[in-house]
C-alpha cells in the first residue's frame, strides 16, 4: 500500500507542472529573415515546442491567443516603430508587452509566457566536428586520421540555434534555454559553402533535438528557483 502511494506520488511529481507555473502561453518562433518565406519550419517548431511543454506537464495556451492580443494592443497605440528611423520605440513596445502579459494572466489564467527564436550563431570547430549548444555535426573539414596526416583546420562556422525564454506575468525572466539545430555552412575543399535556406530546418530529428535541448532543463530550473 505504502509502495503504491510512493509510486503514485513519484509519477505525479514527474509529470506535475512546477509549483507556480502551470499554464504557459506561447508565441510563434521568430526565424531569421532569410527563412521567413518558409512557413513549414516555423509551424513545425511551434508544434514541437507546444507538445514538449505538454509532455512536461504544462497547460499550453496556443500562440494565436498571445499574438492576437499583441497585435490589438500594438494597433491601439498606432504602432511602436519610429517612422523616421524604422527603429523600435522601447517604451511603446514595452507597454504592449506588459499589456499582453496582464491580459494573458487575467483572461486565460496564464502563469508565464514563452517566446522563442532561431538565431544564426558562430560555432567554433577543430577538425571535422562542430559542437555548439549541445548539438554536434560534421563540418566537412578534415579530422581524424586525415587531420593527423594533413593538418587540422580550426575556426568558426555558421550554425543555427533555437533560443527560448520564459517570463512571468510581470515580465521577470524565469528561464532561458538554447539548443543547437544544424550548421548553416559546410566546409568543402577548404572553402565555406552556404547551405541553401530551403534545405535548412527541415530535418525533423535535428529540430526535435534542438527543442529538447532548449526545454528539457526547464522543469528542474523552475523548481530550483528561490521563492519570493
Amino acid at each position: 500500500m505504502r509502495a503504491t502511494w510512493l509510486l503514485a506520488l513519484g509519477i505525479a511529481f514527474a509529470i506535475a507542472p512546477i509549483q507556480g507555473v502551470k499554464t504557459i502561453a506561447v508565441s510563434s518562433v521568430e526565424i531569421p529573415r532569410e527563412f521567413r518565406r518558409l512557413p513549414r519550419p516555423r509551424a513545425r517548431f511551434d508544434s514541437l515546442i507546444s507538445s514538449t511543454l505538454r509532455t512536461k506537464g504544462f497547460a499550453v495556451v496556443p500562440r494565436e491567443v498571445s499574438e492576437s492580443i499583441w497585435l490589438r494592443l500594438r494597433d491601439s497605440i498606432g504602432g511602436y516603430y519610429d517612422t523616421y528611423t524604422g527603429k523600435l520605440i522601447k517604451a511603446k513596445v514595452e507597454a504592449v508587452h506588459m499589456g499582453m502579459l496582464r491580459e494573458l494572466h487575467a483572461r486565460y489564467a496564464v502563469d508565464a509566457w514563452l517566446h522563442s527564436w532561431i538565431d544564426v550563431v558562430s560555432a567554433p570547430f577543430t577538425g571535422g566536428k562542430v559542437k555548439w549548444h549541445g548539438a554536434e555535426q560534421e563540418s566537412g573539414a578534415r579530422g581524424g586520421l586525415g587531420g593527423v596526416l594533413f593538418g587540422t583546420k580550426k575556426g568558426s562556422i555558421r550554425a543555427l540555434s533555437l533560443y527560448v525564454a520564459l517570463e512571468d506575468t510581470v515580465g521577470t525572466e524565469l528561464y532561458e534555454g538554447v539548443g543547437g539545430i544544424e550548421l548553416g555552412s559546410q566546409i568543402d575543399g577548404g572553402r565555406f559553402v552556404d547551405i541553401t535556406p530551403g534545405l535548412l530546418l527541415v530535418d525533423e530529428a535535428r529540430n526535435a533535438t534542438a527543442v529538447h535541448l532548449a526545454l528539457d532543463p526547464l522543469p528542474t530550473r523552475l523548481t530550483s528557483r528561490p521563492g519570493p
Partner: protein
C-alpha cells in the same frame, strides 16, 4: 538618294545615338551625410571624418561638391513633409514615401545647385570569411591574429551615386577595418584611428568613379 548623302545621314545618326548613350560628365556632385552603423556609441565623429575625406578627395579631383549639410537639410525637409518613411506598425520602409522623398531631393539638388550627380555614403558592417590568418574584403586586408580560418565582421565604406534622373550609376566599396580578430572584439575607441586605412577606404570606394568621370 546619293550614296554620299546617305553616308552623311548615317554617320549623323550614329553620332547622335552615341551622344545619347554616353552619360553626361559629372561636374557638380551633391554629397549626403555619411550614414554610420548602429553599433557605434557616438557615430558623429566617424561620419564627420569620412564626410570631410570624401569632400576633400572629390574637390581635389576638380569636382564642385555640394556639402553634406546642404544635401542633408534638403533630404530632411522632404522626410519631414511625409513624417518619416517607415511604417509605425512594422518598421519597414514605405516604398511610396521613400520614392517621393528621393525624387523631390534629386529635383531640388538639380534645380537649386545644378547637381549632375548625388553621392550617398554609408559605413556598413559586413561579414568576412578569412583563411590563412588574413581577412580580405572590399579591397582591404587585415591580419586576424589567432585562428587560421573562420568568419569575422568588418567595416566598409560604401558609396552609391545616382544621376539626376535617379538612376544609380555607380557603387563603390572600400574596406576600412575588422571589428573583431579571433575572439577579441576591437575596442570601439580604437576604430577609425588609422588615417592611412581611412584614406585608403575612400580611394577604394571612389577612385573608379573619378576615373570614369575622367578626373584622375
Amino acid at each position: 538618294m546619293s550614296s554620299a548623302r546617305f553616308c552623311c545621314i548615317y554617320f549623323a545618326l550614329v553620332a547622335l545615338a552615341g551622344a545619347r548613350a554616353r552619360p553626361s560628365p559629372i561636374k557638380t556632385i551633391a554629397l549626403s551625410p555619411v550614414q554610420a552603423p548602429d553599433g557605434l556609441e557616438d557615430p558623429a565623429p566617424a561620419s564627420a571624418l569620412f564626410d570631410s575625406l570624401l569632400a576633400a578627395e572629390l574637390g581635389q579631383a576638380g569636382l564642385t561638391v555640394i556639402p553634406s549639410r546642404e544635401t542633408g537639410a534638403i533630404w530632411q525637409h522632404f522626410v519631414d513633409s511625409v513624417q518619416g518613411y517607415y511604417s509605425a506598425l512594422t518598421g519597414e520602409l514605405v516604398q511610396a514615401k521613400y520614392a517621393a522623398v528621393r525624387t523631390n531631393t534629386l529635383r531640388a539638388l538639380r534645380d537649386r545647385f545644378r547637381a549632375d550627380a548625388w553621392l550617398r555614403p554609408t559605413i556598413q558592417v559586413v561579414s568576412v570569411r578569412f583563411a590563412g590568418g588574413e581577412a580580405i574584403w572590399d579591397g582591404a586586408s587585415e591580419g586576424m591574429g589567432g585562428g587560421s580560418s573562420g568568419a569575422t565582421v568588418a567595416l566598409s565604406l560604401v558609396v552609391t551615386v545616382s544621376d539626376t534622373a535617379g538612376t544609380d550609376i555607380y557603387i563603390g566599396r572600400g574596406g576600412i577595418q575588422a571589428l573583431s580578430k579571433g575572439s577579441n572584439v576591437v575596442d570601439r575607441s580604437k576604430l577609425f584611428r588609422d588615417r592611412k586605412r581611412n584614406l585608403q577606404a575612400v580611394h577604394l570606394a571612389i577612385d573608379s568613379l573619378l576615373a570614369r568621370a575622367g578626373r584622375t
